[in-house]
Symmetry: C2
Subunit: 425 residues, 2 copies
């Protein structure tokens, strides 16, 4: 039984007609730019256009489309059946193996020639990237063609989500919520972050698979199911937002920054919460309140027609115009120079922009950043997650995932945001 081949089965995956619409838009771009065709190597672009998920390795995989809209997949023999069943393409060209002899790109060249893809070729990269030991010529070296980047077009297209995509993100949110609920339940003084994270992720994933059954496929490269954890953001380490994990034991007074999500047919969501172990100190309460307020400033500024930079500027203004009630020392003993906007108000506790788009990738553009002037449009999906980082106290950050509506926003994540709900007794 294959879900992809029987449209009468209930399914939540992206339909093949939606995939065809996406490829059709790319074809319009090819026509407009007078390209002979496109060659895409990026696994996310290929997943977006074909529904085919794969783990990129040293064996190159490519999506090809010529100016007549004829599509083909180029894959190692190893992936042939998988590519045929996932894409439904009539033309799946395989090569024996990498590196082999001749090099797979010799087969690619023949395929491009036979499809009439030459001269001006659109691509996401001039050749397959040299990952996992792959070596090979660039597309321009191989074909003598003029390679024109189409990545910006694809990035722009992927920004606006369809109803089906938003629904998959909604589904992802639910299971991230469960994983986070379990994470909070199992977090106790004396437990370690890894045991709690593994248990919460493990149980949430089994519940998710038992609940969704055949409706579910991960279609992700690295993850299956739901997960929740701490990424080392515990106690003092919380001040380093993307620190890699250590197996730290929870202690009273720790400030914890969590992260939870789930991958559903490739789509993901983000839920992060700041939790405090034991009775929060006054300083912790103060910082938490600022974090929560800064997030609300972003929610208020985020609306269709505004620019991404407007949202981040509003949040930065909040940092600049507010300060701690007592003359708290700035992080790292830095001198506060009120003339320098980097050090005004709460800016010493700032480390990163307000948020980013999310979908098939955990981060994607546009960014809620003072340097990104993209106009916010309905059906963009963003995380909103301004953070405060104090070396002596920890990091403070909530992240919520929201979708832009015609007349506002809908916050998709619904885990409690207030401090009283996030205290570990």
């Amino acid at each position: 039984m294959s879900l992809s081949c029987n449209s009468s089965l209930t399914s939540i995956r992206i339909t093949s007609s939606e995939l065809q619409t996406r490829a059709g838009k790319l074809l319009e771009h090819v026509t407009e730019k007078r390209l002979s065709g496109v060659v895409l190597f990026d696994n996310y672009y290929i997943l977006y256009l074909t529904g085919f998920a794969f783990i990129p390795t040293e064996r190159p995989i490519a999506f090809l489309m010529n100016a007549r809209g004829e599509k083909a997949m180029f894959v190692p023999r190893l992936e042939r059946e998988h590519a045929v069943s996932e894409t439904g393409f009539e033309r799946v060209v395989d090569y024996v193996e990498y590196p082999c002899d001749p090099h797979p790109f010799q087969i690619l060249k023949k395929t491009l020639d036979s499809m009439g893809i030459s001269g001006d070729i659109g691509a996401d990269n001039d050749g397959y990237p040299w990952i996992y030991g792959y070596r090979g010529p660039s597309l321009s070296e191989l074909t003598g063609a003029n390679v024109i980047k189409v990545s910006a077009f694809l990035e722009d297209a992927m920004m606006i989500k369809s109803e089906a995509e938003v629904n998959l993100i909604r589904e992802s949110v639910k299971w991230g919520n469960l994983a986070h609920r379990l994470l909070q339940r199992y977090t106790k003084v004396g437990a370690t972050e890894t045991e709690v994270s593994l248990r919460a992720s493990h149980e949430a994933t089994l519940a998710m698979l038992d609940t969704l059954g055949p409706l579910y496929r991960s279609q992700s490269l690295f993850h299956e199911g739901a997960s929740a954890g701490y990424r080392g953001q515990i106690g003092r380490n919380a001040a380093i937002p993307h620190a890699l994990a250590n197996n730290i034991t929870f202690q009273a007074g720790d400030v914890l920054v969590t992260g939870a999500g789930a991958v559903v047919w490739g789509y993901t969501s983000e839920l992060e919460r700041t939790m405090v172990v034991g009775r929060p100190s006054e300083g912790q309460r103060e910082m938490f309140a600022h974090m929560k307020k800064a997030q609300e400033v972003a929610f208020d500024a985020l609306r269709p027609g505004a620019r991404c930079s407007d949202v981040d500027r509003a949040v930065r203004l909040y940092y600049e115009e507010n300060s701690l009630p007592v003359a708290s020392p700035a992080p790292g003993g830095q001198q506060r120079r009120e003339s320098d906007s980097d050090f005004r108000g709460l800016m010493p506790f700032w480390k990163h922009h307000t948020g980013h788009a999310i979908g098939l990738r955990m981060h994607e553009g546009p960014f809620l950043d003072v340097g990104d002037h993209t106009v916010i449009r309905p059906r963009m999906v963003f995380t909103v997650e301004p953070g405060f980082y104090a070396p002596d106290m920890g990091g403070f950050r909530h992240s919520d995932t929201l979708v832009v509506l015609d007349d506002g926003i809908e916050i998709l994540t619904y885990y409690p945001r207030e401090l009283e709900s996030l205290i570990i007794d």
Copy 2:
């Protein structure tokens, strides 16, 4: 307490003097090629040269070294403390945020100028790849420099492991063994692959963390601890080697292809076994025996001084010169044409080359492949994993990790290989 700053603590991580030796060899290459310096973006190359592990995102990170051997890291402010503590570099240049204004690459340009890196610049890629929504100029567009690829040099250097690297791979093997032992123990008719994989991985990881304590850091981008699972390679699906996971229920008669490993200070290993649920059929026994024999053919051919292609040719010869005892149908109803080496003997069941090198990356070069004529040298580490794939019966593959010695090989994985040890009652 920081392991990296206190050399008197017992540690199994790569020492800073070994990291300096690696960078020193790259500097020799820079000098030899008369480059003004190098710029590296690839996270594995950066981990190899600096010990700094990070998750690549839309925020570019680079390692810089000029022709005088002066090193610097280029990171977002978010990663500053992390980069300083992991690399110990005096010079860590940060930019405020991506995309921000000015673009981070403007800061990179200033840094390159100040280090005298211009003209002929070595790099692994002409600019930061456009991942997770990143957009930006290429290095050559940014600087007007002539960008010369140094990836092949780095790939060659990473092929030969030091004693410390082999020891980390040895440590990885142990915990992959535990995860696999638990995986086999919990696999039963009626259980599902995900519940068994999660439980085995979960318990093995906790045992590993409790055992190694502060000796352990993952330093991996996506994994912590040990894991074992099936990757959807169950029953009939096993014939698709890299199929993404589904939550399949084990049934009597299933042929299972497993995968287990652990990541230790970034280094990994590979252990895969073919298991059969219930009493194996004659056909299954026959195919298993061929798989095991083909692996032994590879072990025999793999020795210092031989070429990688010799090993794969020996294995292919085994496929070509042997056949099933009865006239079994070839996969997919393909016609057997004895004149075509693709269809001779057992070749219809062939899908991929014999193996690959492994280390910081799950796959790396050189490859045990007829097209890779690299001479095998002591302290290369390989997986050996010829496979047989029959749509009606499943996939058959063991993978073992070995290190090349001065006068032979040492197989590092020690999980039982014979069928009688791999039957699930």
